[in-house]
Amino acid sequence: MYELKAVDKKFPGVHALKAVDFQVKRGEIVGLVGENGAGKSTLMKVIYGAYQPDGGTITIDGKTVRFQNPRQAMEKGIGMVFQEQSLISNLTVMENIFLGYEAQFVRLGVINWKAMAEAARKQLAKVKLDIDPATVTASLSFAQRQLVELAKVLTLEERVDGDLVILLDEPTSVLAEDEVKMLFRIVRDLTARASFIFVSHRMDEVMELSDRIYVMKDGAVVDVVNRGGATVEQIQHKMVGRNVDREYYREQRQKPYDDSRQLVKLEDVGLPGRISDISLTLHPGEVLCLVGTEGSGREAILRTIYGMRTPVTGHVTMKGARIERFTPQAAVAKGVGYVPRERKVEGIVAGMNVYENMTLSQMGHFSNAGVLRVGEERKLARDWIGKLSIKAHSEYADCGNLSGGNQQKVVLAKWRSGGSDIMLLDHPTRGLDIGAKEDVYEMIRDMCDDGVGVILVADTLEEAIGLSHTIIVLKDGRIQKRFDCEPGKKPSLYDLLHAMI
């Protein structure tokens, strides 16, 4: 009934969707799985009308359609339940449900609240939620909000002739186990009214709920599995099965680290609700990779070491000294450098030029009584522009105008030039093209040769395996397993996935 044929989508430098065929039948629940960056979210955006495909056709009941925006898709019966709660928390449940469609309750410019409440109660009954529609959304639990979102999408039923297709994007990520069960029960009951596309990282849930599963990899659908047609392991192999070139990750340059000294030591560190009982040690020349799904605690560990969070339990020791006050200033003084994931938000200041960005964390070294020695700053920037072959017309170039790879080099140069020897890298290669990625890998090996310890959250599992000396697998804020990764004895993707999920 709903079908995509050979749909293509390109972004500058990325071929996000490669001739994707996708089909949803009436009353069906279709699973969609793939690694981060496999193209799942692009595909969903094409389906609910946020992106327009560059090629291929979308048909509903055999008729070709083209959506300019999500509203047009909604009018054809395609609704989206967002992963991040898209309800406006200071409005009531009924206002949220009918947001943008209040006109039906308006007489002479006045809203008939009673009629709206009545209609909302009818929608809520579809998802078996017994709450007052005048409740303010902020006071609901996450599970209830998820159901309200679903009820909101189900209003399409009355507005649209024909069938509904509802996308569920990671609907279970904030729910407890029994809430997940309840949600699944409701979704199954609703298949009489609508078809569903279900996206989740949790493979067991996808297997349990879906009639068919589309497996995506590198922007293409690599397989379609019917219910019971494959085991979790087989699907995981399909998700990740690509050749890993050892050269690519500079494995030949991986040398044993120096285990006589400890740069960072975490003992039983815990942050309630995020991580618990985390113990790990980082040595000079070591690349330590934190592996886990989104929300498994990788970022919380990095931020604790960087002093942006104060652990509630346990101790952090850096270079032999126990850390008492957790601030970024103290961490920087200890030699910690942090390359955050959101390069645009926390990595570089757009509008400031290369040398200003490079010395931002170390202006004290370039000033007397607050007066900057700009000449020295510029010289430092010129040195690093040469050393890392940063493509910028000069040290005066605005960092906001550099390419992603060159921005990342500026961020790395910022910390390395200041003598940081504990580097925290959060997705350092995200959004970079292959050449720029290789440059970053090369720089990581260079840093290790200089005795820097690196804690890495990698963009893909291959990257984690290829680069690391040690891998720590996290799940729900706890350490599941620790792997030693000497060249030649590296764990396989499968080993990691098994510990992750």
């Binding site: 970024p328 200041v349 509008g351 000033s367 007066v371 700009v374 605005d398």
Partner: protein
Amino acid sequence: MTRFLTREAAIRWAPLLVLIALVILFTAINPDFFAQRNFARIAIAAAPALMVAIGVTFIIVMGSIDLSMEGAVSLTAVLFCFAFLWLGGTLAAGGWLAIPLALIVGGLIGLINGLVHVKLRIPSFMASLAMGFVGTGAAVLITGGDIVRIEDDTFRALLTWRIAGFPLMVYVVVILAFLAWFIQNHTTLGRNFYAVGGGEELAHASGLNVRRVRITGFVLAGVFYAIAGMLQVAKLGQAESVTGANFMFISITSVVVGGVALWGGIGGVWNTVVGVLIVNVINNGMVVIGLPDYVQDGMLGLLVILAVVLSTDRRNISFVK
């Protein structure tokens, strides 16, 4: 688009072109506009406003806003006069001590602004607006509504002593503008303003003490307001509780018209200097060509909207609150 026609260059040079165009326009309508005496008049009118505008420029570059200038200028002007008279009434007799005193008071007003904003987490516009009212109120309280006069010839020399046709205060202001430019471009503090305005989270993640930068910024702004207060006294020979009136609109208008972005990180002292000149040239020029003053206010209001429209890449801003 060529490399040289960047947005950066446009923000830097467009206001200057507007200024030149305005001068040509007014001269064409009334050639009397283009006279040294008239330029001196513009410069005198612009001098205190420039000090206020430079003060608030630092704050706007940080992405905050400071609306305390009217109260701060009034209070520092009044206190300066009282201290000046109490210390002997002439610059030579010890009245000069009132200058550092006024600067300290200005700094303290800024410090309170900054502390209220940062420590109590009150939006800067609200904290500073409230502080401005407190300042005006305090000025009324101290003067009892009276006018305080200073008739020291040495101090008034700021206005009366002319070099090449321009009074001394114009040169003082030029030097202070250079000082502000130096702070902006050559000190860690100035760099920190841009870092905070360009990306507060990033500044924090680079180990900067963002809260301290913010508070220091407000202190610096307060000091510049105090300078403006004293120049206003030099210009008028007196101080009262309304000495600072109108500075809020004039200074913010100037900063915006000069091309400093209200969301922080873009523009600087140079833009503000040009902006203040644009605003004062318009004010003066409309008098010279004989338009009534209510038209002037309307024109300035339109100019602000026009400047923001032209200087903002509005496609990248999804919500405006």
